[in-house]
């Protein structure tokens, strides 16, 4: 096995053992939130590779969350069924929304998804019968216990099972995005971004590619939403606002768009940062906003770009 593989395995062993080393539930919570953010950032970045910036991420997370919640609480589905259904449904919504909107140019597409995000959020507030209105839905049950032969069952009573489950989902998502990117599909996205005129002329179905990447992104948002709902046990429209969509954008911009590592680094950095800056929410948000502005002005490749530059400088001097 090669070096990369070896380090990855070491990283994994470390990640798997964290709950044994870290006992504070709050810290586990931070890690779980970070993983949610990474999944969302990866999905968003995948779409942004086709030069479209959706501003409705958070609303789609909400769609996944409410879908899973309603399936479990109204129709007595098991979480293990509602979870993939929520993802698929959100993915299908992505296709339905994407087909008319992805043909329009970048800035207008952004505005259209912004409008869509607000429409969805207002629906959550307005349709009280289904979504519980501004108060949202409470007492959402945890996932059903997973029976293990001869050893009892894994119950989702503490944060630890959520940690491992989310880690598993994250791993699968990373693999999906990695494999799709290093393939004909990923290259088609790059082509569309670099020159859609040329891309079309070499047979790339631009709309097909854009809709596909948007659907993948929507699917990711949906499954994060589903886990979110059964983790927090409470969801409300205020969890899925436009500003959260902006937050996910900041993760990518900070970390560096267009790479795999960028969104991951950005998400980790910006989820951990508020913990070190123990200050009021308003100050955190100001720092977020300033970070976005400064990065776009001075460091458009994000942290990832900076790391790449630094490491190549080391390589040259070595």
């Amino acid at each position: 096995m090669n070096k990369k593989g070896f380090y990855l395995i070491c990283l994994y062993v470390f990640l798997l053992s964290i709950p044994l080393l870290v006992k504070d539930a709050y810290h586990i919570h931070i890690l779980i939130m970070t993983m949610f953010h990474i999944i969302l950032a990866l999905g968003l970045n995948f779409v942004m590779n086709t030069a479209q910036v959706p501003l409705c991420q958070a609303a789609f997370v909400g769609v996944g969350a409410y879908t899973s919640t309603l399936l479990v609480m109204r129709l007595n589905f098991s979480f293990w069924l509602s979870f993939p259904i929520a993802g698929v449904l959100t993915g299908v919504l992505g296709i339905i929304v994407g087909l008319p909107t992805l043909r329009i140019k970048g800035i207008y597409f952004a505005m259209a998804t912004f409008a869509l995000g607000e429409i969805i959020r207002l629906l959550f507030i307005g349709w009280v019968g289904l979504f519980g209105g501004a108060n949202g839905i409470t007492s959402i049950p945890p996932p059903d216990p997973i029976p293990i032969p001869l050893m009892g069952a894994i119950e989702f009573q503490t944060k630890v099972p959520y940690y491992y489950f989310t880690l598993l989902v994250l791993t699968v998502c990373i693999i999906i995005v990695y494999r799709l990117t290093h393939s004909r599909i990923g290259r088609a996205s790059t082509a569309i971004r670099e020159s859609d005129l040329l891309a079309q002329s070499t047979g790339i179905d631009i709309m097909g590619c854009k809709v596909f990447t948007f659907a993948v992104n929507s699917f990711f948002a949906g499954i994060v939403g589903a886990i979110y709902a059964h983790y927090f046990h409470f969801i409300g429209p205020q969890d899925f606002t436009f500003w959260q969509s902006v937050e996910y954008l900041v993760f990518i911009v900070m970390g560096g768009s267009g790479t795999l590592g960028g969104p991951i680094i950005g998400s980790i950095f910006l989820t951990f940062l508020p913990e070190f800056l123990r200050m009021a929410v308003e100050f955190q948000v100001v720092i977020y906003g300033l970070a976005l502005i400064l990065v776009l002005l001075f460091m458009p490749q994000g942290i990832m770009g900076l790391l790449v530059k630094v490491s190549s400088r080391f390589a040259k001097s070595a």
Binding site: R187, L197, S201
Partner: protein, 256 residues
Amino acid sequence: MKLLEVRKLSKTFGGLKAVSQLDFDVREGEILGLVGPNGAGKTTVFNLITGIYLPNAGKILFHEEDITGLKPHKIASQGIARTFQLTTLYTNCSALENVIIGHHLKMRTGVWSILCRTPFYWDEEKKAKQSSSKLLQFVGLSGQESILAKNLPHGHQQRLKIAIAISSVPQLLLLDEPVSGMNPEETNEMMALIGKIRANGMTIIMIEHDMKAVMGLCDRIVVINYGEKLAEGSPQQIKENQEVIEAYLGREDDFA
């Protein structure tokens, strides 16, 4: 055998007739020159054939099938490829990546084989990479594989454009001013390359202003002016055509 047939093709922008009642054929295996003064509508014709513009009237037949109004990527999959005048390349990708991207139509990997990394996936990736290397060699860019497209000198960029276009092994290749901006030596090299491509069985339509290239390569020439066909015939016939000479007023020395 008629590969491409253009019948009464017309395109109007606002009030301006860019292309008007254009009629011509392209025979299999030939190099057809499309010439005319600047603004005559030549690139518009290419855009109409490749589906970037929708014609207001007229038909385009490829292999006797109507391809009028098909989306550009569908037309590409039928076997028509083209190059563009401006630097239409994947500028931030390496030369090799540019050509690999061009293999999009040739690769048949679907979502499942990509996600599961089946042997088929690995096989296709390897084949694409090898094919791309060979193509770069074919157009004379073998040492330039890892150079970013935007850093290539103009002449090399022109070759790269051609490599990308032929990577899908099209039957019809549309070249938009392949030797523009080249010195005489580069022009000769490009002419040799185009000759090689034709020898490999591809039919070519070429827009060019450089009369040496046109006269030296083309089997037949179609001359258009103000969107209408002015003349059609062999290079010799066109050279002696009075109307053509008048249209190019002041450029008679090009025909020498």
